[in-house]
Structures are given as structure tokens and as C-alpha cells.
């Protein structure tokens, strides 16, 4: 039989077939699905379809993250509607606002397991590929359809093989890897494809780093991204996975649409210039640009290791008086751990405003909307015009280290200079 890529194997199993071909349309049955505040729209769709029973409610979760705590009565009423629905239909779990960003929580709480087909009504669903799942974004109506029928239709994607080699230099992080990949391939560079990560350097990346890479598959236009199951995955999911699972590895000799090689040792810290995620340049090219707001948050880069890097840079110092620094841990579990280890304290003492876990500034609907002409340097994933609620503002993307170093100086700053001072 034709050797299959990881995504093809998962889709073949989830559609009850022995094999699949790229571009084939399959009817698949996801192993798990999740939603967030926009479940309100999925409920409307579910009810308008005349559905009465959620198929596979024991494999469905809702986690509020986009607009919590509620900003207004309309959002609060939508939240009420969703709470009532998940209770009535006995969803596997419901996470109240503040628990964390859904993508982070689903991996952290063990709902996303290796080899699973996962659907979520959010473009950053590919995050689940960090644990070896094929996690795919859908619309809200589709989520309602999935609840009603247990199925979705999917086109079998081609797979782009990414080979990572070399060691990251000091001061260069996972975010710089993915910003470089996006700069090279473009915002449609992964269109209708799944990014499959390989190479000795991929094996060395931590779960949090893998999450950052898979998360921003969305900014490549990709259907998903996946790190094949290995020791790092095994250690992470052990004692955490909520469902039985079978790790899936790609077959030797599987057909890829291409191979993209990246030597990590050649990378520099990257900043994506305003307007599009593929405008990444080495930080030196934008060094000294004034910023008004800095956001260390989002499902891309707000985990314990991200906050630790920021705290390492800011500990015992004060941020520039002309800068607003907002820190939003990706989940409450992250916030708790970063509180215990003192990192959040260090960030607050440096002048950071710590906000409840959720999408916050990145969703552009509340909390941290930018003013006209303002510039935000952000560890999040999107910088197109208007993303943070104002088309007349600019957004640049970077790693938590670059964000923290820039918070000190009030201008875009290469963190390697600061890291040199702070640690011998």
C-alpha cells in the first residue's frame, strides 16, 4: 500500500478507510472537538438545523477565552446561553473564562492526544499538533453541524515536510523559527497543506516550543502542523491524556509536497513588521523603533518558559515609562506556576500589568485596543491591520525575549544585548 504521511494516516482512520489520497474529500469523524465563546454561534446553527442531541458530547469541550470577563450585557448573555447548552447536553467539560486560552487548555488538560483528529472552531487549532494530533480549524456553523451529526467533510491535504537542524543561538527562540519559516514561505505558503516537523533539532524542541511552531501554522495558511510522537511527547502526555490513544508516525517513503530545510544555528531574533505575518526581518533591521504597547500573551507565546525568559530580562528593573506592558499568561495553570516561581512577581515589579488568562489583546475586541498611530510589539500571532481593534495602529510580532528587552528600552531592542548583561 502507498506509504502515508502522518496527516493522511489520521484522516484515513478517522474516515474509516484503509488509505486516502491528497485532494480527496472525506467524511471524517473527529475524535475530539472544542469551542470557545463563539460556541454561541454554533449553538444557533445546531438549533436552526433542528438538532436535539449532541453526538459525542463526551468528546466535546467548551472553554471561554475570547471575551471574558464579559465586557457588556450582550457578551454576558451569550456566555449564559453557552453555559446552559453545555450543561444540558452534558459536555465532557466546560471551562469558565479565566481558566485559559482554549488551545492551551485542551493540550494542558490532556484532551488533545497523539494520533487524534481534533476539530475546533478557531484558526489556531493546529496548536494540537504539538502532541502529535491532527488538529484542524473549522467555522462556527461547522461546529454546530459536527455536534449535530458527529461528522465533518475535509479535503485530504498534501504534507510539507520541514527538516530542522542545528542549535538555536543564545537569545533566539521558537518564535524566531516560525517567524523565519513564515517570512520564507509567505502567508499562503502552507495553503491546504499540513506542516510535518522532522530533524534532530525538532526532536530537541520542548512541548511549549512545538506548540509555538504548530500554533502559527495558521499564519502559513496551513490546515495543520504536527510533530510526530517521540520521547518528548510521551513524557508530556503521560498521566495527562484523558483518552486512550495510539501514537501515529508517518510511513517511511511517504509522498510530501516538498521539503523545507532550516538550519536553526543561522537564525537571528526576528520581528514581523506591521501589516502581515510574513514580513519577518532580523531584529537589527528595526532596532530602535519606538513602541507604545507591549503584549506578552496569546496561545503562541505565554507559557511558563515564555514568562521565565521575560522575567529573566526584567527582574530588578523598570520598564520604560512611555511603554505599557501587558502580560497575559496562556492559562491559569501557567499563571499559578509562574507565580510560584516568582516570575510574575518580577514582571509586576518591573511595571507589567498582569491580566486574566484569555485571548485579551490578540482578539482585538476588548482589553488593550490600540489608539491611532500607536505601535504594539507583541508575542502573539497576527499583525494585519485592525487586528488589535484599530486599523490605524501598527503591530509587530516577536519572541517574549525581544518583547521584554524592548519594554525596558521603549524601543525595539535585540534581547541578546540585555541577556549578556543580565547573566555574566
Amino acid at each position: 500500500m502507498r506509504p502515508l504521511t502522518l496527516a493522511e494516516k489520521i484522516l484515513a482512520r478517522a474516515s474509516g478507510q484503509s488509505t486516502v489520497m491528497p485532494d480527496q474529500i472525506v467524511e471524517a469523524k473527529p475524535d475530539f472537538c472544542y469551542s470557545h465563546d463563539y460556541a454561541a454561534f454554533a449553538i444557533d446553527a445546531f438549533e436552526e438545523m433542528g438538532a436535539t442531541r449532541v453526538v459525542g458530547a463526551d468528546r466535546a469541550v467548551v472553554c471561554f477565552d475570547h471575551g471574558t470577563p464579559a465586557d457588556n450585557a450582550r457578551d454576558a448573555n451569550n456566555h449564559r446561553k453557552v453555559r446552559d447548552f453545555v450543561r444540558k447536553h452534558k459536555f465532557a467539560e466546560f471551562y469558565e473564562g479565566g481558566f485559559g486560552i482554549a488551545h492551551q487548555v485542551m493540550v494542558e488538560e490532556g484532551f488533545v492526544v497523539p494520533g487524534a483528529l481534533v476539530a475546533a472552531n478557531d484558526s489556531h487549532a493546529p496548536s494540537g499538533g504539538s502532541v502529535g494530533a491532527l488538529a484542524i480549524g473549522t467555522g462556527e456553523t461547522e461546529m454546530g453541524f459536527l455536534w449535530a451529526t458527529g461528522n465533518i467533510w475535509l479535503k485530504v491535504p498534501r504534507t510539507l515536510r520541514v527538516e530542522l537542524s542545528g542549535h538555536l543561538a543564545r537569545g533566539v527562540y521558537a518564535k524566531d523559527i516560525i517567524l523565519q519559516i513564515i517570512a520564507k514561505l509567505g502567508v499562503l505558503g502552507g495553503l491546504y497543506q499540513v506542516m510535518e516537523y522532522h530533524g534532530e533539532a525538532a526532536g530537541r524542541l520542548s512541548m511549549s516550543e512545538r506548540f509555538t511552531l504548530c500554533n502559527m501554522a495558521a499564519e502559513l495558511g496551513a490546515k495543520g502542523a504536527v510533530f510526530p510522537y517521540d520521547d518528548v511527547t510521551a513524557e508530556y502526555v503521560s498521566g495527562r491524556a484523558r483518552f486512550p490513544f495510539e501514537p501515529v508516525l508517518p510511513d517511511p517513503g511517504a509522498a510530501y509536497s516538498g521539503v523545507f530545510d532550516l538550519d536553526l544555528s543561522a537564525l537571528e531574533p526576528m520581528v514581523a513588521l506591521p501589516g502581515r505575518e510574513d514580513r519577518g526581518v532580523p531584529v537589527s533591521e528595526v532596532d530602535g523603533k519606538k513602541v507604545d504597547q507591549i503584549f506578552i500573551g496569546s496561545c503562541t507565546n505565554a507559557r511558563v518558559d515564555d514568562l521565565a525568559v521575560a522575567a529573566q530580562i526584567l527582574r530588578g528593573k523598570k520598564i520604560h515609562p512611555d511603554v505599557r506592558l501587558m502580560v497575559v499568561p496562556a492559562s491559569r495553570a501557567v499563571a499559578v506556576e509562574s507565580t510560584r516561581n516568582g516570575d510574575l512577581l518580577a514582571l509586576m515589579e518591573a511595571g507589567a500589568t498582569v491580566m486574566p488568562s484569555g485571548c485579551a489583546v490578540c482578539a482585538g475586541a476588548h482589553q488593550g485596543v490600540l489608539g491611532d498611530g500607536e505601535v504594539c510589539l507583541s508575542t502573539s500571532n497576527r499583525n494585519m491591520p485592525g487586528r488589535m481593534g484599530n486599523k490605524n495602529a501598527e503591530i509587530m510580532l516577536c519572541s517574549p525575549a525581544t518583547a521584554a528587552a524592548s519594554a525596558l528600552a521603549g524601543v525595539v531592542t535585540d534581547a541578546r544585548r540585555v541577556l549578556k548583561e543580565s547573566t555574566r
Binding site: Y38, M49, G139, T141, A148, V187
Partner: protein, 178 residues
């Protein structure tokens, strides 16, 4: 009217118009007719007027990329958009539009064919081509499941039909995808 042919005038839009620009997140919870008033206004007032006047959007590469929110697609539907042609288009935009009954067709050649605001084009689903300026531009065959959703009017309408079939037949609802 023949379901297999969509005929109408085009609003011409540019490259890299993100879904956040098509309809910003803050308008996601508005009633449809109000969303239609905000459609593409972050691009320009003219883009809004043009998209509401012409049933077909001729858009450049990556139109609708970025956020997977469905409200931009709902806003297009509310504004009377029947189809979006050009591209290539991002996958979530594609799905969301289809699920709201708005056909999305990749046809890059059409972007460079020199069409102006208000020019009329014909999308022929059966013959897999778009006709414009006396020329025929080939398009990929539209998958059956996509045809069924668009012809039903939306995924909600399509889902309703499946629900009714399954309650009558006592069977399990499926998407009938082959």
C-alpha cells in the same frame, strides 16, 4: 434560474485583505444587516458600497486570510454576496463562505484579466469555467458536498435537510460525502 450558473457584476478588491479587515472582531455579534453595513469598511467606504452593489467579489490572493471567525462570511452573505472569485483563498475563509452559501472559486487568471468594477461574469459550475470578457477561464471541479451545501443555501439549511431525513429514516445523519 439555473443553479449551475451564477451570473452577476463584480466588485474588484485587492490582495491580502484579511478576514479581520473584511469584518473586524468587534462587529461579530451584530445582527446580519448591521454586519453588512460594516463589511470591508476597514478597507474603505467605497469597498463596502461596491461589495453591497455587486453580487460577486473578484478578490486577489489571500483575500479572507487570517482569523477563522465566521462573521466575515456572515457579513458577506448579509450584504448579498453570492460568490467570491480570484484568489488563491485561505482554507477557513473558503469553508466559512461556503457554509454561508457563498461560493468561493480559485481562479487566479481572472485576477489578471483586467476586469473593472461592475463588469459582468458568469460562473458555470457544470462546465467548470468562468466566462468574462468573452473568454472562458477554467476552474477546478467543485466537490459534490460543496455543491450540495451551496445549493441548499447554507450549511444550516443542508444540516436541517439531513436532520429531517435521519428522523424520518431513523438512521444516522451524515454529510453523504463520498
Amino acid at each position: 434560474m439555473n443553479d449551475d450558473i451564477i451570473r452577476g457584476s463584480v466588485a474588484v478588491l485587492g490582495d491580502f485583505v484579511s478576514a479581520d479587515v473584511i469584518l473586524p472582531a468587534r462587529y461579530s455579534f451584530l445582527p446580519p444587516e448591521e454586519m453588512a453595513r460594516h463589511l470591508l469598511t476597514d478597507l474603505s467606504a467605497e469597498a463596502n458600497a461596491s461589495a453591497r452593489e455587486h453580487p460577486i467579489l473578484l478578490a486577489g490572493q489571500a483575500f479572507g486570510y487570517g482569523t477563522g471567525r465566521e462573521s466575515p462570511a456572515r457579513a458577506m452573505r448579509a450584504a448579498g454576496v453570492k460568490a467570491v472569485v480570484g484568489g488563491p483563498f485561505a482554507r477557513m475563509f473558503f469553508r466559512n463562505a461556503i457554509n454561508n452559501g457563498v461560493l468561493v472559486i480559485d481562479c487566479e487568471a481572472l485576477v489578471h484579466a483586467g476586469l473593472a468594477q461592475g463588469d459582468t461574469i458568469e460562473i458555470d459550475i457544470e462546465r467548470c469555467e468562468v466566462r468574462a470578457k468573452g473568454q472562458a477561464f477554467p476552474i477546478a471541479p467543485i466537490p459534490d458536498v460543496v455543491k450540495r451545501i451551496v445549493q441548499a443555501g447554507s450549511l444550516i439549511e443542508y444540516g436541517r435537510t439531513l436532520m429531517q431525513e435521519s428522523s424520518r429514516g431513523g438512521g444516522h445523519a451524515t454529510t453523504h460525502a463520498r
